[in-house]
């Protein structure tokens, strides 16, 4: 606190000199403090990665390449986590498929359709979705949504059984209200705010002059969106989707409650499944030995997966932002 105050009083005295010259103590102290704060986050991240990997080492050493097998059964000392990785991917994809069209629709609505003063309350309501705690989504999902969906899933499954792709995805005998699809649906609710707000910002950067140009050439609103807004925002929206995907992969408690907790790989989306974060959360309490190491290892895998997705997303967003500035 005192450091910051001194830095302030020092600024006017030194402001005449070029920045390259020797800077006052307050400025240097502030720079060091800021750098330390930045590095601290990095150090904590690296330490977490190292200590979790170290905790998981007995899993890697006892199970070897079998860690990616499809045979999770701690009771029989089988610790292959393929089913969890599959579940993580499939629930995140369901969430993105459901949330993205809605999010892009809201983003376009706010920027191109409704007047600005009507947009504010809509933004507010969408952002409120992000405020609902994860555990509330989960409890609502398991107590209200799952029993209700159970009947709907049953009807859909009996209707599509035997039909080629539909039966493959939505059919099957093992129908449950708590399933991959319910988890994906809850995740879709949860990632809609972030995908919407990022898409909205990307769409808003479309130069007004381009849009006016399209109108001047006689384009309708839809033609203008397709011809001007969409090409301009494509990259940024892909980035927003990837960030949503990253968020969906890491979400834990809500998913742990509604995914059905069965480590199986199946194409039937209405069947109970499992994913990495839910598997860790549900099984950690009573675990020990290699079982615990395996759960730690699942944490490392999840950490790596989300980092990869996030790095790709940031890259896409930055590239599109550069292109947008250049345009």
């Amino acid at each position: 606190m005192s450091v910051a105050t001194r830095a302030d009083s020092a600024i006017p005295a030194e402001s005449a000199h070029p920045l390259a010259q020797r800077r006052p103590l307050g400025d240097r102290a502030f720079a060091i403090l800021a750098l330390a704060a930045g590095l601290l986050v990095l150090v904590i991240l690296v330490l977490i990665a190292i200590s979790t990997s170290q905790q998981a080492s007995s899993w890697f050493s006892t199970v070897g390449t079998g860690i990616f097998a499809y045979n999770w059964d701690p009771g029989q000392n089988q610790f292959g986590v393929l089913a969890f990785i599959y579940g993580t991917g499939i629930t995140a994809v369901i969430a993105v498929v459901l949330a993205v069209p809605v999010s892009i629709g809201i983003a376009l609505l706010l920027n191109e359709v409704v007047p600005r003063r009507m947009a504010a309350p809509i933004v507010y309501v969408v952002d409120l979705l992000a405020v609902v705690p994860s555990v509330v989504w989960g409890l609502w999902g398991i107590i209200v949504l799952a029993p209700w969906l159970n009947h709907i899933y049953g009807s859909i499954a009996s209707g599509v059984n035997g039909i080629w792709v539909l039966g493959f995805l939505f059919g099957g005998e093992n129908i449950s209200g708590a399933s991959f699809f319910t988890a994906g649906l809850i995740l879709a609710f949860m990632i809609t705010p972030i995908v919407t707000s990022l898409s909205r910002e990307v769409v808003a950067t479309t130069p007004s002059i381009d849009k006016q140009g399209a109108y001047a050439l006689g384009a309708t609103r839809w033609e203008m969106i397709r011809g001007v807004v969409w090409p301009h925002s494509q990259g940024g929206i892909v980035g927003a989707v990837l960030l949503g995907l990253g968020r969906a992969m890491g979400e834990t408690i809500a998913v742990a409650l509604v995914i059905g907790s069965s480590a199986t790989i199946t194409s039937h989306l209405f069947a109970p499944g499992y994913n990495l974060p839910a598997g860790i959360a549900n099984q950690f309490g009573e675990s020990s030995g290699v079982f615990r190491a395996a759960l730690m290892g699942m944490g490392v895998l999840l950490f790596a997966l989300t980092i990869i997705i996030n790095v790709i997303a940031r890259g896409v967003v930055q590239r599109s932002a550069r292109r947008a500035r250049g345009a």
Partner: protein, 365 residues
């Protein structure tokens, strides 16, 4: 003013982050329990006044009892603060091994592969309570149901899938069982309840049960999983044809109907706290006070019964904790036993209770 405010916030938050990081580092390297206990002069017996803090963690099964006992104990020994964190037996044992807590709650003895983590120090087992696990079911119009261990094993292995299967109907003459599909309701989280239920099937029906006796079981695909006992109770309640293993207190609280199970003596017994105590009285207790209360002998014993222990080091790293632990554990296995009935647990049978009391003096520093 704006800029200054911003900088102050930045500096302040950086300091806060450093503080949190330091706190995190120091807590992860702590090897001795972070509590000081001061003993009033002239103590040593459990009756004298002591003061200090005890931290415990572990089994969620005994959590309700721990919380009630902590409240009641506070009125006896107002100087002692006891904290119990319901984190699961496995985590509780790990916390005890690493010295984060002074006692652990556990529903099962320390597994052989984890003994090494206690570095050769002796751990004392104090049994504190017994509890029946019910088989709760949802079948309209069926108010009494009899089951045997082999049939239960086949239901939870997915081998018997209809309620009117001849294996079930032959046990229940005169009961009109529907052709509804059976939905086994199981725990989604790893649990001592699962472990002891599986242990019962392993012990009583070894030829029909092949899914092991661990806290996590690879259930058949027709099973539905819920979190905690209440989650399983919720599935049973909302799914016609469901049958689940739910601990007695939660099954009663949820208003579920439960089956009578054939015991070792061949009688069908409904779950109750007395029948659970009877089962525990009929099993062999090892010298270290470990035992499995399932499948106990005795005409009136309910066979799916399990137990929970409080685990402490025989030799305490802090001398001041000895009198605190003796006072609190002495309360749990003494006067505290009277709290169990109303919470849906069963008291320790007299033979085990006296063995536990005799062991109290082993805690030293």
């Amino acid at each position: 003013m704006r800029i200054r405010g911003g900088k102050q916030v930045a500096a302040g938050s950086a300091v806060a982050i450093v503080a949190v990081a330091l706190a995190a580092c120091s807590s992860s390297t702590t090897t001795t329990p972070a509590s000081g206990g001061t003993t009033a002069p002239g103590t040593g017996s459990t009756g004298a006044a002591v003061s200090g803090t005890l931290n415990g963690a572990g089994s969620s099964f005994q959590n309700t009892f721990q919380q009630s006992a902590i409240q009641a104990f506070h009125s006896v020994q107002s100087g002692v603060t006891v904290n119990y964190n319901s984190v699961g037996s496995g985590t509780g044992r790990t916390d005890l091994a690493s010295g984060v807590v002074q006692f652990a709650g556990s529903d099962s003895p320390i597994p052989a592969k984890d003994v090494a983590s206690f570095k050769g120090k002796t751990v004392l087992y104090f049994p504190v309570l017994i509890g029946p696990i019910t088989l709760s079911y949802n079948l309209t119009g069926v108010s009494s149901l009899k089951l045997t261990a082999p049939v239960i094993a086949q239901i939870f292995s997915g081998k018997i899938t209809k309620w009117n299967d001849s294996a079930i109907t032959s046990l229940n003459p005169g009961v009109n069982l529907p052709s509804t599909a059976i939905t086994p309701a199981v725990r989604s989280d790893s649990s001592g309840t699962t472990q002891n239920f599986a242990l019962f099937l392993q012990t009583a029906a070894p030829s029909d049960w092949s899914l092991g006796d661990q806290s996590t079981v690879k259930w058949p695909s027709n099973a539905r999983a819920g979190a905690q006992n209440t989650g399983v109770a919720q599935i049973v309640k909302s799914t016609p044809g469901a049958i689940g293993y739910v601990d007695y207190a939660d099954a009663k609280a949820s208003g579920l109907t439960f089956a009578s199970v054939q015991n070792k003596a061949g009688n069908y017994v409904a779950p109750s706290t007395d029948a659970a105590s009877a089962s525990a009285a009929g099993v062999t207790v090892k010298p270290d006070l470990t035992f499995h209360a399932v499948w106990g002998a005795g005409a009136q014993s309910y066979p799916i019964t399990y137990q929970s222990w409080v685990l402490v080091y025989e030799i305490q790293p802090n001398a001041s904790d000895v009198s605190l632990l003796k006072a609190y554990i002495g309360y749990l296995i003494g006067d505290g036993q009277s709290l169990l009935g109303q919470l849906g647990y069963a008291q320790l049978p007299a033979n085990i209770d006296s063995m536990a009391k005799a062991q109290l003096d082993k805690i030293t520093s």
